[in-house]
Amino acid sequence: MSLLELDDVSVTYRIASGDVPAVRGVSLTLDSGAALGVAGESGSGKSTLAMALLRLLPRDARVSGRILLDGEDVLAMKWGRLRAVRWAEASIVFQGAQHGLNPVRRIGDQIAEPLLVHDLAKPDAARGRVTELLEQVGLPAWRARSYPHELSGGQRQRVMIAMALACSPRLIIADEPTTALDVMVQAQVLTLIKELVAQQGISLIMISHDLSVLADVCDQLAVMYAGRVVEHGPSSEVFHDARHPYSRALAAAFPTVGDPASRMAPKGLGGDPPDPMHLPTGCSFHPRCPVALDECPTLDVELWAAGAGRVAACIHAKPATATAPASAPATEEPA
């Protein structure tokens, strides 16, 4: 059974000048022990979606649809229940570990805090658990007595992961967990995350704009553009053989070193991300799309099947028969 199920989730920010639709009708499921990568550029709605999962959005955000965590609707939870769910069932590792830690408290106390707040351990037992957690993320036990400034960026990110693990959650949401880190440290942190997912059966949602990193860690990849999922499927297939031109552009942005095709040929995507208050008509990607057709500005795109276990919201992935004016079910022969 799936651990997390998103059903037509939309998030709209209400600001003075009007409504800003940040997430528009996203449906995704995550199985227990699986890892899902969510890719997209700034403004694609990926972080808003992550925050919505635990209702961490500001007051001016309106969330609709259903978010089922273990069958229970997060959006309908009372405050007390929600507090219990946060940390204990699902926790978040934010980007920028520099700002996530309290500079004047020792690391050990900060890791123990969720345990104590949730009455999951008495202070003495919590100390033991902190040692255990530090070990799991590859830090020596004496680091519990350190302050955040005594740690390097990679070590702080490990502490953030230890905090997220403290209450043994079943789901971890990692929002750009390695963005500010060096390559070598990034590799260390990614290896750690992969091990935790594999060994402890924790489910993972990882958010990044780097498709190559997501493909490395996650089994499934969802690519978001302008608040919608535009492609979803097994991660290596989406990464190596994307069906949506936007996913293709993201995948090509980080070249494979040694590939003659990308030598002296950086690949980017022209144009700018759309303004969510003035989204383009039809397929929102059409103004930047290198393979747009005449009907794209008016076409209502939806996620069409694009191979085994894959969907893509692009006219080029649309079943051939369905492109005909009278949209018939996608079959080989007309009935």
Binding site: E41, V185, A253, V257, P266
Partner: protein, 335 residues
């Protein structure tokens, strides 16, 4: 690679040297100890050449870039531009900085939010009292891909996308018609889709204006995308350098090999433990020996160089354009 005493002029290069670091040392005092941030570097950047300087944070790459810009004074050694050593009078530096310009990492942080695009780009020409300011600004903006330029004159940074802001920063550097750009992580804070566009811009500026560039980065994919040559820096020294095709397809220094191995999709990972060591305590012998996977695996001992690795300091690599690595083991494997 036996002629360790030669400098760039002695070797026939295809491009005449424009900017050069000769036996450069930069030291800081840090809590009573000396930090050797740049500890003996020879590096030459030819006319119209793009060199990538790669390394982890703390390896001294930013200090080296700042010293090349004349923002730090070397403890010993010299920076040479167009054949002449840099002098550190304010008048000489002012002239120098018309030739060698800096492009900063974070466009949001390096633009004044209350200055229009025009004011941001016109700042350089005003400081240098150049005539035809508006013409210079227009040209710089269109070279940076913001066309038509007058449409951007009165815009403020917050009205622009991340990629456009980075283009404004680049236009600000171009306004003085420099010969060299020194770019510190020019795309690290940009979205994946914009990244390729900015890199393509740097390549185009080289083709159209003959600009040279030193791109400081931790991103090997960037080097593969745009650089002619790459120099890998570790703890204050360049440990491997040469043409990108050679260094990045057949790295010879174990540190370069480790950096390459943690790229997504590389078959076998060498995840170095720990973070880059401290520039106040540079190990004796080869400065990488404590983390070296080749030494740890016993392969260096088989080749009979392990004692030298631990005790004998390596000579400083010369500023030759050919591929070279500062490694005893690499010397034994190639004639």
């Amino acid at each position: 690679m036996t002629e360790t005493q030669t400098t760039a002029e002695a070797v026939t290069t295809t491009r005449p040297t424009l900017l050069e670091a000769r036996d450069l040392h930069v030291e800081f005092s840090s809590r009573g100890r000396r930090a050797r941030a740049v500890d003996g570097v020879n590096l030459a950047i030819g006319e119209g050449e793009i060199v990538a300087l790669v390394g982890e944070s703390g390896c001294g790459k930013t200090t080296l870039a700042r010293t090349l810009l004349g923002l730090e004074r070397p403890t010993s050694g010299e920076v040479r531009y167009d054949g002449n050593p840099l002098t550190y009078t304010s008048k000489a530096l002012k002239t120098y900085r018309r030739q060698v310009q800096l492009v900063l990492q974070d466009p949001t942080g390096s633009l004044n939010p209350r200055h229009t695009v025009y004011e941001a780009v016109a700042e350089g020409p005003r400081i240098h009292g150049l005539p035809d300011e508006q013409d210079l600004v227009s040209k710089a903006l269109s070279h940076a891909g913001l066309r038509p330029p007058d449409r951007f004159f009165l815009r403020y940074p917050h009205e622009l996308s991340g990629g456009q802001r980075q283009r404004v920063v680049i236009a600000g550097a171009l306004a003085l018609n420099p010969k060299v750009l020194i770019a510190d992580e020019p795309v690290a804070s940009l979205d994946a889709s914009v990244r390729g566009e900015i890199l393509a811009l740097l390549l185009r500026l080289r083709d159209e204006l003959g600009l040279s560039a030193l791109v400081v980065t931790h991103d090997l994919g960037l080097a593969w995308n745009i650089a002619d040559r790459v120099a890998v820096m570790y703890l204050g020294r360049i440990v491997e350098s040469g043409p990108v095709e050679q260094v990045l397809t057949a790295p010879r220094h174990p540190y370069t090999q480790a950096l390459m191995s943690v790229l997504p999709e590389s078959p076998e990972r060498v995840v170095l433990t720990g973070e880059p060591p401290d520039p106040t305590r540079i190990p004796g012998g080869c400065r990488f020996h404590a983390r070296c996977q080749v030494l740890a695996s016993g392969k260096a001992a088989e080749a009979g160089v392990h004692t030298r690795c631990r005790t004998e300091p390596l000579p400083i690599l010369p500023a030759t354009p050919e591929a070279q690595a500062a490694c005893y083991y690499a010397e034994t494997t190639t004639p």
